[in-house]
């Protein structure tokens, strides 16, 4: 269950393999204080979902891009 005070950030990406996702997930988790992050690799938009209480999505986008992948926040 997600607490109402937490924010959910949803991103469209081109992360397309479990290996890529594993590496990006590790980078996100070791850089930011987040509640959870997941990706839907079956979806056409490879939607990444990050739950955190205090985070600027620009930093997440920048980190994913540094890993060589596209990332756009879906607002």
């Amino acid at each position: 269950m997600i607490a109402l005070t937490e924010s959910i950030f949803v991103f469209k990406t081109n992360i397309d393999t479990p290996a890529h996702w594993e590496s990006i997930k590790n980078a996100i988790e070791s850089t930011f204080e987040i509640e959870s992050c997941s990706i839907d690799l079956e979806d056409v938009d490879k939607v990444m979902r990050v739950i955190a209480t205090d985070i600027d999505p620009i930093h997440i986008i920048s980190l994913v891009e540094k890993q060589g992948k596209n990332c756009y926040e879906l607002v």
């Binding site: 950030f9 997941s38 079956e42 979902r49």
Partner: protein, 204 residues
């Protein structure tokens, strides 16, 4: 940042059930669902991690809800006949009033997520039914059978009659209207089949 909206969450759930019933487990996609709800795909991800998470969550909720209705006014301490009668009444009520939920629940119970749905959504129901059946067997109100045989006899005829009613026709497309007489007749036959034969009548 995405914000949760309870009304939208309910809409998503309703439409997901509708889409699963219409297109089946394999034909279900987040894109189709987003179009049906008139929301962006991203909105769906506020509520669920992915398609699998959505199906497991909805399936578990449907199981809990179904069991809540089936066990309404039911106590495992009741006599076998009274307890089964209440379950027939409750099952008929649920199937006739929530046909989409029932169809979706049946579909998900036979999907790859069945184990999660059944184990998380049916614990109370299984324990209650186990206690009810054990007591009935001990009191010689119920014959000892495998659970699968018991279930098919106890509820099979009810489900078939309700399906005929929902389709408006029975075998060979014969028009069918369900009456209390049909239900009671089937119920008495079920009780007769499941009740042990007592050899306590004095032949002389």
């Amino acid at each position: 940042m995405r914000v949760r909206d309870q009304a939208k969450e309910i809409l998503v759930k309703e439409k997901a059930i509708e889409l699963l019933v219409k297109d089946g487990f394999d034909g279900f996609s987040m894109n189709k669902l987003a179009r049906m709800c008139n929301v962006s795909v991203a909105t769906l991800y506020i509520y669920y991690r992915d398609k699998d998470d959505m199906i497991k969550t909805i399936g578990t909720e449907l199981a809990r809800n179904f069991n809540h209705y089936v066990l309404k006014d039911f106590l495992p301490t009741m006599s076998f006949k009274d307890g089964l009668k209440i379950q027939w009444k409750n099952r008929a009520f649920y199937m006739l009033n929530f046909p989409n939920d029932m169809a979706c629940y049946e579909l998900l119970r036979h999907s790859p997520h069945a184990e999660t749905i059944v184990s998380e959504g049916m614990i109370d129901f299984r324990n209650t039914m186990k206690s009810f059946m054990e007591k009935a067997i001990k009191n010689r109100e119920l014959v000892q059978l495998s659970i699968e045989t018991f279930w098919s006899i106890a509820f099979g005829s009810l489900h078939v009659l309700l399906r005929f009613y929902q389709e408006g026709k029975s075998m060979g497309c014969k028009p069918f209207h369900l009456s209390d007489v049909d239900i009671n007749e089937a119920f008495e036959m079920v009780i007769k089949a499941l009740t042990p034969v007592h050899y306590n009548i004095n032949p002389s």
